[in-house]
Homo-oligomer: 311 residues x 2
């Protein structure tokens, strides 16, 4: 391993929603190597105890570091970030970043009223991790669980101006109306909404259409990727010009042009270089991962490799 | 144990949706004892391999028979019925009944055109267990996965003439329109719709409002309970008059009258006798079970007991 070898960034989620975080990372680090693990055999983490989640997350982190040589870890899973970040940091010796603090930091930077709203899964809301991270920054935060949004994304009902997208827009409208009513009752004056679930970036256009005009929408996947660049920057700066060296394997994205244009709309220049290397792993059920994952990643996941982390 | 001791019927599900089957059983056997196990720590079964599902289901069945003394088992879980009924029958010595064959039998009895539609979860549809059971009876069956219906039920968006119930009705309308279009394209003339998921009985009024007027709706939870009565009848007939004997523990439903009338609307006379005994077990997360389970069971679940079946 020489200085010109790109570092491997490990990205972990209990499922494949964290591919939205990987996507945001690739846009910023097109020349890095990425290893993504979805612990699909043991999801959902949200219904399990803190101790069980900590064990699963630590095992997953160790796989990425020990087996895949990850030099940095991004925990692209709100539940694991909320309940197991310490356990993961204890289990490995590389820098580890979760999604919650970056989301809270971005809300802090965006909010003028210092009142923010957070939508997330039931498990994330029950952990109150976003509220705690916001409070630590002097923000007031009101959280709401929106359990229907993940299945709506996984069903693909995300396109505006279609009957199915209309259902999703109505669900978002109902949830936001409830949240805004609770917010008003609590005397808050929110100007920022945090998307506290890795599935929600796929709903961003529908959500932006549903919020009041002055409200800023913060995507915790984007925020986590930004924070990762800051955290990992010293090591990563060394190889960003070494595009042509040391690259012997990985997926070839030269066929990117064959995909629908909207898939690539978020990518800055150079993001889809053929040198980006991604390996995706799952602990069970690679079929669903491969079928749905490309929507989250914005490109094909390639062949997802099955790994066994034990019961 | 004497002849006047009511038999214990074990009811198993990966989650708590199977409480709709337990509810249907209680209505028919108000004097039996019931032990319900939801293997909530290891759900969803649908994303796991057949071998893993078979092991989990066999362990769960053995708990009900060995630890709880169940003399009959009802597998109130479509995935386990589809993929693990043989494994369960091999693991225990008591009679075992699944939900799929009873649903297919009821469709056979109801259909004049011999073409039926089945809606279910993705995992159940992928198993094609309903189609196979229907084909064995000379029916043609078209199955459709409706992944949004379980989360809509769990969110409680089931009441007609409310904004949230309106969302659910629209989701049902979209799914049924797709299914009827596929059915027409396949040259079928269906007159029967099978609800192939234990959550769907809570949507029955909305589904009946959405199907063509002449279509019969078959509830596999009701069908399974009917089939259980037939299968277990000899032993069960002995105690149906022994209401006052041998009953020393279990939940007291004498407060049934305190609950909303609609909760009890389905119950025939005598169903909510104070002698009905139910014990509910879960392998994790009893909070959600207790919070949502009463909607499925149509009465309070009582305290749900946590059991550890291992990894």
């Amino acid at each position: 391993v020489t200085g010109s070898t790109p570092p491997t960034i490990g990205v972990f989620d209990s499922g494949f929603g964290g591919l939205t975080v990987l996507r945001a990372l690739i846009q910023r680090l097109p020349h890095a190597r990425f290893a993504f693990l979805g612990d699909t055999a043991r999801l959902p983490y949200g219904s399990k105890s803190r101790r069980t989640i900590a064990r699963y997350a630590a095992e997953s982190a160790q796989f990425l570091v020990r087996e895949q040589g990850a030099e940095f870890l991004v925990i692209a899973c709100n539940t694991a970030s909320a309940l197991a970040l310490d356990a993961i940091q204890d289990a490995v010796t590389v820098p580890v970043l979760g999604v919650i603090e970056p989301g809270a930091n971005a809300a802090h930077a965006a909010s003028h009223t210092r009142d923010v709203l957070v939508i997330a899964t039931d498990a994330t809301v029950q952990s109150h991790a976003y509220a705690a991270a916001c409070h630590a920054l002097g923000l007031r935060a009101l959280e709401k669980a929106c359990p229907l949004l993940v299945p709506l994304v996984e069903e693909g009902w995300t396109r505006a101006a279609t009957p199915t997208g209309g259902v999703t827009s109505e669900v978002i409208r109902i949830y936001l109306a409830e949240l805004l009513a609770e917010s008003e009752a609590a005397g808050l004056n929110p100007d920022t909404l945090v998307l506290g679930c890795t599935h929600y970036p796929l709903l961003r256009p529908l959500i932006e259409a549903a919020v009041p005009a002055e409200m800023r929408v913060i995507d915790s996947a984007e925020s986590a990727a930004e924070a990762a660049i800051q955290l990992f920057n010293g090591r990563i700066a060394n190889f960003e010009t070494a595009e042509s060296t040391g690259l012997v394997s990985g997926h070839d994205f030269s066929r990117a042009a064959d995909l629908p244009e909207t898939t690539w709309a978020l990518a800055p220049e150079g993001s889809f270089s053929a040198v980006t290397q991604i390996r995706c792993f799952a602990t069970d059920s690679t079929e669903k991962f491969e079928r749905l994952g490309s929507r989250f990643l914005g490109r094909p996941t390639g062949k997802v490799e099955l790994v066994d982390l034990g019961g």
